[in-house]
Structures are given as structure tokens and as C-alpha cells.
């Protein structure tokens, strides 16, 4: 029925696995209580009345005391279990881990892969790739309001708060594509602020990483792609978006250098297909009302070549 790619009940990493364990323990205990208390209530209501004054009051006091005692012990046990799991989750580190800076914006995620060598870092948006089995240290920031970074299959959420840097470790044990979504109300398009986490085998990840470092695809002279690039650069696109290797170096909207490799556009609102992309450029306010991309008056003749160019940004 419901999908499994954005679910706390289908863990794909050690942290979400531990949290799911806590959940099943809590659920088991709760189920017992949910049977017990209404059961006691039913028994209290239906029982045959025989009253024998003082001694029955004393028995009741003992029963209440016992019930409170059991409750306290169970609660103490749950507290200990929760603390132990919390500690295990928090102590996870990978000295060999990736470093990724994720920044929340109204209403998309900027993703920067950071390395010690400057020419190996790169920026993308709304998509994170992770190699199976290798940890990633995520630094969370916000450029505007509070957002919350949440990929339930991998870990619980952590807020991105302006003026602060929060960190969280992610690790995935199995390949797969997992969806994450902003979990702190952040304004008009809070509902459409998703990102994908693609977990792949190490060599596939390395291939992707190498590709992302490269500047953008250079169109062949005279091709539709080149005409599309001219259209792109003559429209206001480059004031907000960057395409590395061109004169477009805007920093306030998603980096489009390798747009065509991404699964979705508009922070998960649409699948990345030619049709959706065209619709988005022409009338983004209808798809995601209030988003920061102004309506574009793209000349009818330019749109097809513009799309061809954007589709070539692999």
C-alpha cells in the first residue's frame, strides 16, 4: 500500500535499524498495556459486587501500589533502553567518512561534497549519493528559516537552523534509493521540499562522483544544444543558477551543472523528464505556488533547444 522509500519501518542503515528496534520494543510494551488497562476496566465494571468494607480498601491499596510499582519499573526499563540506543547511535563515527554540507533553503536542499583538495569538491542539489557501507558526516545549515533534514530509512531527523551548524552521521548498509523530506514547517512550499538519497556500490558511487566534479558538458558547435545554451545564457537563468564552465554562476538557486543526472526537479516535486522540465520553466508557480523561481517568458522557439541543452547536462 504505502511506499517503502520514505519509511521509518524499513531501515537501511545501522542508526535507523537501532531506532526501529526501539520502536518494536515500545510497541510491544504498549500493546500489553493497551490490552491490560481496558481489560482491568472491563473487569472492574463487570465484576460481581460483594462489599466487605475496610479489608477491601486495604486490598485495593495494595493492588494500586503494585500496579504503580510495575508501571515505574517498566518505565525505568524503557528509559534505560532508550538511553542505551541513543548512546550507540550518537557514538557512530567513520574516520574515513565523506563530508557533506547540506543547506536548507526555501524550498530546496543545497548539497556540497567537501574534500581536503579544493578541486575535488562540488555542489549539487536535492540529491545525495552515498557508497554502501561508508559513513557520511552531514553538516546542516539553513539560509533562511528552520528546516529539518529527514531521511527516515537511514536516520531520524535533525533541524537545519539559521545561525547554527548541526551535524549528523548517515550510513547505509544496502543499496537503494531513499526519499527524504523537510520535516519542519518552513512556509508555503514545505510540502514540496524533498531530496533523494541514492545508495550505490562503491565503484558506481566513484563513477558518479567523478562525473559531478567535471564542469558542464560542452555542446558541439552549431548543435541544438549550443543554441539552447545561448538561450539559457540570454535568459535571466544565470542570475540565480550556476552551470560550471559557463557564464552562469548564480548562487541562490540549485546548481544545474549536472541537472540531467538527477532523479527529480523542483526539490522532488516532479520527475526529471523533458515534459516536466518544460512545464516547470514555463509555469513553475502553478506547480509549486509561491516558489522563488519567477515566471520565465521563454520565446516559443527557444524552449525546445533550451530543454535539449538542459537534458545534455549529464
Amino acid at each position: 500500500m504505502t511506499a517503502d522509500f520514505q519509511s521509518a519501518l524499513h531501515p537501511a542503515g545501522p542508526q535507523s535499524d537501532q531506532i526501529a528496534l526501539v520502536w518494536w520494543i515500545l510497541l510491544a510494551v504498549s500493546t500489553a498495556v493497551m490490552v491490560g488497562v481496558p481489560g482491568m476496566l472491563a473487569a472492574a465494571i463487570r465484576r460481581r459486587r460483594v462489599s466487605n468494607g475496610q479489608s477491601s480498601e486495604r486490598r485495593l491499596a495494595r493492588a494500586v501500589g503494585l500496579a504503580v510499582g510495575i508501571t515505574s519499573v517498566v518505565l525505568a526499563g524503557l528509559f534505560a533502553a532508550s538511553l542505551a540506543v541513543g548512546k550507540r547511535i550518537n557514538s557512530y563515527r567513520d574516520p574515513n567518512g565523506l563530508k557533506i554540507a547540506v543547506t536548507g533553503n526555501q524550498w530546496w536542499w543545497e548539497v556540497r561534497y567537501r574534500t581536503t583538495s579544493p578541486n575535488e569538491g562540488f555542489t549539487t542539489a536535492n540529491e545525495i549519493h552515498l557508497p554502501v557501507g561508508r559513513g557520511a558526516h552531514i553538516e546542516l545549515r539553513s539560509n533562511d528559516v528552520i528546516h529539518s533534514f529527514w531521511v527516515p530509512n537511514l536516520h531520524g531527523k535533525m533541524d537545519a537552523i539559521p545561525g547554527r551548524v548541526n551535524t549528523v552521521w548517515l550510513k547505509a548498509d544496502r543499496p537503494g534509493e531513499f526519499r527524504g523530506q523537510c520535516a519542519e514547517f518552513c512556509g508555503l512550499q514545505h510540502a514540496h521540499m524533498a531530496l533523494w538519497v541514492v545508495v550505490e556500490p562503491p565503484d558506481a558511487f566513484e563513477h558518479w562522483r567523478r562525473g559531478q566534479i567535471e564542469p558542464s558538458h560542452e555542446p558541439a558547435p552549431g548543435s541544438d544544444e549550443e543554441r539552447g545554451r545561448e538561450a539559457f545564457l540570454s535568459l535571466p537563468c544565470g542570475l540565480c543558477h550556476a552551470v560550471r564552465g559557463t557564464a552562469a554562476f548564480g548562487q541562490v538557486a540549485p546548481d544545474l551543472t549536472h541537472l540531467a543526472t538527477r532523479r527529480a526537479v523542483a526539490a522532488g516535486a516532479l520527475p526529471n523528464t523533458r515534459g516536466h522540465l518544460g512545464g516547470w520553466i514555463v509555469d513553475s508557480q502553478r506547480i509549486k505556488p509561491g516558489n522563488r523561481m519567477p515566471p520565465m517568458a521563454v520565446p516559443a522557439a527557444s524552449l525546445p533547444v533550451l530543454l535539449t541543452y538542459l537534458e545534455s547536462l549529464k
Binding site: 500500500m1 521509518a8 473487569a43 494500586v64 504503580v68 533562511d144 531520524g156 531527523k157 539559521p162 508555503l188
Partner: protein, 627 residues
């Protein structure tokens, strides 16, 4: 044996008292009213009107979410609607309705004739009414608050919420908090100093204990949010930087101030409901509630602990681990006093002699619904689990189980229970049974699926979702549940209107209950008790009903009542209360002018203060009723 002529004397007494305690009829009488029963009823009726509005908003949201990518509400309207729903429920329904019951029943239950400060009670009602009208005036003029009932900065700040929407919200907070604080102070003094002679603290009905504890919580919790809302308003209107991260302010300051109020707020709503449950169970189990000392201590413990768990709303903000452990421990521990009360009630029912009624049915539903909400509460006290559940539909399910199951079901039970006291008429039991079952089924259908939706990744406060998420079916189920729940609400309203016109009168004590409010007429005379009662046990209407001792020597030609000592309720002196007056309304208008005006022009804080000064001058002008 009454001496001859006693009946005539008694009639003369009643006539004199009625003359002293009545108000003139008509509109002027209505706006100058200071009787706690009238004000309490106004509070309750107004709160139910706001409940109706918030319910309609909930239905709009459920319609929008009933299928993926629905276009029924655009995101702008959806955000206003969910903000208005939460704000209305918390500030304009739940707290005020509990205050209204408190204002009505506390003086009756402690056996006095009015609250300690009748004009303050009137002022409190006007502030509440004006605050609510102000917020809705904004909503219908496209200035509805849209930053959530929690209004986190910087989203609610001047940069990301331009316009007046959040200003209306912030100022409404100040209105309702002033109103709640006024009532709290009023009830505290009434409870501590105006109890019937002999009603020592250890003989106070549990409902009165609950209102005392709740009132103290209001006194300590509400100032935090008033401070926060005023700081937010200053940021927005006069350019201060309390919450501006661009000026190195920390947005988390808002969250701490808000939740320092916001978590106790839950208990401010919930604790009066616990008192209602105790009253109802005692009556329909035909025995005193088991474990009176444990019950009162649990109420007090809940109140203290309630102030130590606010940060569990902030487990995903990156708190230090030691802080998280502390707040987890506190959040889990508060389940213990709740458990004590649940077990004591079970023991009461076990050893009692149960008489079925709709009121009891609503209270018994509490045991299933509140326990479910309490358990999910324990779950989300665990930091690891909360990082998954936080801000998802799991939380929406959790707090609706706690607040509707824990407070609204007992509240509806309380309406069924006390309706004869308000109106002199019983609500129909047959309609009541239908009302109960429809509400119960609708509630669970609406909110139970939300637990699962949250775990399957559905965040709160989203105006839509894409079809491939697979949340459509359960959302549709929840929407159908909401329609059934709404029918339950209509049945309740229908029952109230139908029964009000019924010819069958209820009598003073239709349930043969134990506490003093049942000694008064149904509905009570303006002076409540012809002779103030004196008690010598916890259940005066059971042990002393035929021979309730009473106080003599109070003047009948003015609004006189008795002040007793705080702990043992020994009579100390007579005390005359003020009668009908226009000043509370004028003072509320003056304060409102400052609040409303300052949203548009800050200078109105000064103008309003000057107007308020004159209003208070009139209010406190020496008058003759103090002898």
C-alpha cells in the same frame, strides 16, 4: 422542627438576596454582569463556538488531504487554516472552556456566592472574547495567521512573514493570556479564601484541587509566552532583534520560551479534565474516589513535572546529550502520576456500584483513548524514536489522543453531567448514547491511521503529497472518520438544543451526587445559596444532605459572603463583593485599543495605556459596598 413562620422568613430572605444579587435585564445588564455563573456560561458557550470554527477548519484540512495533489485549498489558504485550527483549539477553545467550567463550578463547589474578584472575571471574559474576534477578523480579511500555532522564528519574523498576519496572531496570544491569568488569580483566591466553613484543604473536592493546581500552572506558564509574543511583535513592528539570526540572535530562544509555556499548556487543559473525571466517577460509582491523598499529590506532581519537559519538543534541534537524557527522564516520569490516577479510578470503579450514564461513558472512553495517547507519549519521550516521529502525523495522532481523548471526552462527559445544573434540564440519554458511539468511532477512524502514516514518512503541516508516496488510502480513511466525528459533534449540539426546550425538569441533585454544587437550585439563583453551607466531610451531600449546616449572620441587602482561613477554612470575616459595573468592559476596551492599535502604529501602546489608566481609575474609585 421549624418554628412557625420560618417559611415566610425564608421567602423574605430569598427576596432580599435576590434584590441584592440580581442585575437589571437587557443589554445593559448583560454588559455589566459580574456573576460568576453568567460569566462562566458565556465562557463555555463562546469556547464551543470557537470549537465549531476550529472543527470546520479541521474538516477543510481533511478534505484537502483526502487525496494526493488535491486542489481544494491552495498552500496559502491551507497554511492559514491549519494555523487557525491549532491556535483556536489551544487558545480559544481548550483553555477558555476549562476556565469557564472553573468559574462556574468552583464557587458552587466550595459553597460561596461568587468568585473573589467578580469584576476581574468579567474583564477576563471580555479580553478573551476580543482576542478571539480580533484573530478571526484577521482571518476573514485575508490576514489569517499562517506560521503555525507555534510560530517558530525566523519564519514568523518580519523577513519571512511580511504583512500583518503574524502580528494578529501574536497579539491574540497576549489577549488570551491576560484573560487566562486573570481567571487563574481569581480562582486561586476563591479556592484558598472563600471555602465553606469546615471545608479544610483535605476536604476539597478533587475537581477544586485540579482547578487550583491548573490555576497555579497558568500563573507560572503564561508569562513566558506573553513575553515571547511581545518580543516577536517588537521584532516585527519596531525593529528589535530578539530573534534575528542575522544579528547573532538565536532562533532557539523562541522555542524555549514558547515550549516553557507550551508544554505546561497541555496540562493546563488536561488537569481540569482529570478533576471532571473524578467528579463523574465518584458520582456514578457511588463511592468516594479511592486514594484521595494519592490523587491530590499526583495532580501536584504532574504540575511540577509539567514544567520540566518542555525541551522534549526540541529533540531534533541538536541539544546536548545530557540535556536530552534529562528531558527524556522527566517526560517518562510524568507517566507515573498519570498512572497513579488511572489506577485509583480503576480501584474506585472496581469497588463501587456502577450506574450507567452518558457522562460515565465518555469518561470510560478516556481510559482507552488517554492510555493510548499516554503510551505514544512515552514512545516519543525516547530521543531516538522521537527523531523519527517528530513533526510527522504520528505526533498529530499522539496529541489528538491526549487532548481529545484526555480532555475533550471528559469535557463532553462533564457537559452531560452538569447540564442539569446549568439549565435545570437533563440531556437526553438516548441521544447521548448515540452521540457517544458516533464520536468514539469517528475519532478513532480519524486519528488512529495517522500513527502509521507518520511512521511511513508523512510529515505534518504539508498541504499535499504526491501519489507515489502511497498515503492516499489512509488519508481518505481519516477524512471519512472526520466526517463521522463531525456528525458526533452535530448530535451533541442537537441534544443540547433539543433538551434545553424539554419540559422535564431535573431537580437540584438528579444524580444524587456528593458535592455542594448540587445543594444549589438548578439552575442556581444569582446568590447561589440562600444560606452559605458549612461542611464537616468530603462528601457533604451524601453524609449531611438532610441536615446541611449553614452560616448565619450575613447581610442580605448587599452582596456579602464569607472569607475563611486558607488551610482549615475557619470563618474569618465577612466580605462584600462589588455588584454590576461597566468598568471591566471599559478597561478591556482600553487595553484592547492598545493591543489592536499597536499592530498598526506602535504609539498606540501609549494611547492605550492612558485610556487604561482612566478605566482603572473608574474601576478602583472608592465605593460604598466595602462598608
Amino acid at each position: 422542627m421549624s418554628p412557625p413562620g420560618a417559611a415566610l422568613d425564608s421567602q423574605a430572605d430569598a427576596a432580599a438576596l435576590r434584590a441584592a444579587w440580581s442585575n437589571r435585564r437587557g443589554f445593559y445588564g448583560w454588559i455589566t454582569e459580574v456573576d460568576h455563573k453568567s460569566i462562566g456560561k458565556r465562557y463555555i458557550v463562546t469556547a464551543f463556538v470557537f470549537l465549531l470554527l476550529a472543527g470546520i477548519e479541521a474538516l477543510l484540512m481533511r478534505l484537502q488531504l483526502s487525496r494526493p495533489e488535491n486542489g481544494f485549498l491552495d498552500p496559502d489558504l491551507y497554511n492559514q487554516v491549519f494555523t487557525m485550527h491549532g491556535t483556536t483549539m489551544m487558545f480559544l477553545f481548550a483553555t477558555p472552556v476549562m476556565e469557564g467550567f472553573g468559574l462556574y463550578f468552583v464557587p458552587l463547589m466550595v459553597g460561596t456566592r461568587n468568585v473573589a474578584f467578580p469584576r476581574l472575571a468579567a474583564f477576563s471574559y471580555w479580553m478573551y472574547l476580543f482576542g478571539g474576534i480580533f484573530l478571526y477578523a484577521g482571518f476573514v480579511t485575508n490576514t489569517g495567521a499562517d506560521a503555525g500555532w507555534f510560530a517558530y522564528v525566523p519564519l514568523s519574523g518580519p523577513e519571512f512573514s511580511p504583512g500583518k498576519r503574524v502580528d494578529f496572531w501574536a497579539q491574540m496570544i497576549t489577549f488570551t493570556e491576560i484573560s487566562a491569568l486573570s481567571t487563574a488569580v481569581d480562582l486561586i483566591v476563591t479556592i484558598l479564601r472563600m471555602r465553606a466553613p469546615g471545608m479544610s484543604l483535605s476536604r476539597m473536592p478533587l475537581y477544586v484541587w485540579a482547578m487550583l493546581v491548573q490555576s497555579f500552572m497558568i500563573v507560572f506558564a503564561m508569562p513566558a509566552v506573553m513575553l515571547a509574543s511581545s518580543m516577536l511583535l517588537a521584532d516585527r513592528t519596531v525593529g528589535t532583534h530578539f530573534f534575528n539570526p542575522g544579528e547573532t540572535a538565536d532562533p532557539l530562544l523562541w522555542q524555549h520560551l514558547f515550549w516553557f509555556f507550551g508544554h505546561p499548556e497541555v496540562y493546563i487543559i488536561f488537569i481540569p479534565a482529570l478533576g471532571m473525571i473524578s467528579s463523574i466517577i465518584e458520582t456514578f460509582a457511588r463511592r468516594p474516589v479511592f486514594g484521595y491523598p494519592a490523587m491530590t499529590l499526583s495532580l501536584i506532581a504532574t504540575a511540577f513535572m509539567g514544567f520540566g519537559l518542555w525541551a522534549h519538543h526540541m529533540f531534533t534541534t541538536g541539544l546536548p546529550p545530557a540535556t536530552e537524557a534529562f528531558f527524556t527522564a522527566a517526560s517518562i516520569m510524568i507517566a507515573i502520576p498519570s498512572g497513579v490516577q488511572v489506577f485509583c479510578w480503576l480501584a474506585t470503579l472496581w469497588s463501587g456500584d456502577i450506574c450507567w450514564s452518558t457522562a460515565l461513558r465518555f469518561v470510560l472512553a478516556f481510559f482507552a483513548l488517554f492510555v493510548a495517547g499516554g503510551l505514544t507519549g512515552v514512545m516519543i519521550a525516547s530521543v531516538p524514536f522521537d527523531t523519527q516521529a517528530h513533526d510527522t502525523f504520528f505526533i498529530v495522532a499522539h496529541f489528538h489522543y491526549v487532548l481529545i481523548g484526555g480532555a475533550v471526552f471528559p469535557l463532553l462527559g462533564a457537559v452531560y453531567y452538569w447540564f442539569p445544573k446549568f439549565t435545570g434540564r437533563l440531556l437526553s440519554e438516548r441521544l447521548g448514547r448515540l452521540n457517544f458511539w458516533v464520536t468514539f468511532v469517528g475519532f478513532n477512524l480519524t486519528f488512529f491511521p495517522m500513527h502509521y502514516l507518520g511512521l511511513k514518512g508523512m510529515p505534518r503541516r504539508v498541504y499535499t503529497y504526491t501519489p507515489e508516496m502511497g498515503w492516499g488510502a489512509l488519508n481518505l480513511l481519516a477524512t471519512c472518520g472526520a466526517a463521522i466525528l463531525a456528525m458526533g459533534g452535530l448530535l451533541f449540539l442537537g441534544n443540547v438544543f433539543w433538551s434545553m426546550t424539554s419540559r422535564r425538569t431535573a431537580g437540584n441533585n438528579p444524580w444524587a451526587a456528593a458535592t455542594l454544587e448540587w445543594a444549589a437550585d438548578s439552575p442556581p439563583e444569582p446568590y447561589s445559596f440562600q444560606e452559605l453551607p458549612a461542611v464537616s466531610s468530603r462528601e457533604p451531600m451524601w453524609s449531611e444532605a438532610h441536615d446541611l449546616a449553614h452560616v448565619t449572620g450575613l447581610a442580605e441587602d448587599r452582596r456579602q459572603t464569607l472569607v475563611t482561613s486558607t488551610v482549615s477554612a475557619r470563618p474569618q470575616h465577612r466580605y462584600s463583593l462589588p455588584g454590576p459595573t461597566l468598568w471591566p468592559l471599559l478597561a478591556a476596551l482600553a487595553v484592547s485599543s492598545a493591543f489592536v492599535g499597536s499592530v498598526f502604529r506602535p504609539i498606540w501602546v501609549i494611547y492605550g495605556a492612558i485610556l487604561t489608566f482612566f478605566a482603572l481609575l473608574g474601576w478602583f474609585w472608592p465605593k460604598d459596598y466595602w462598608e
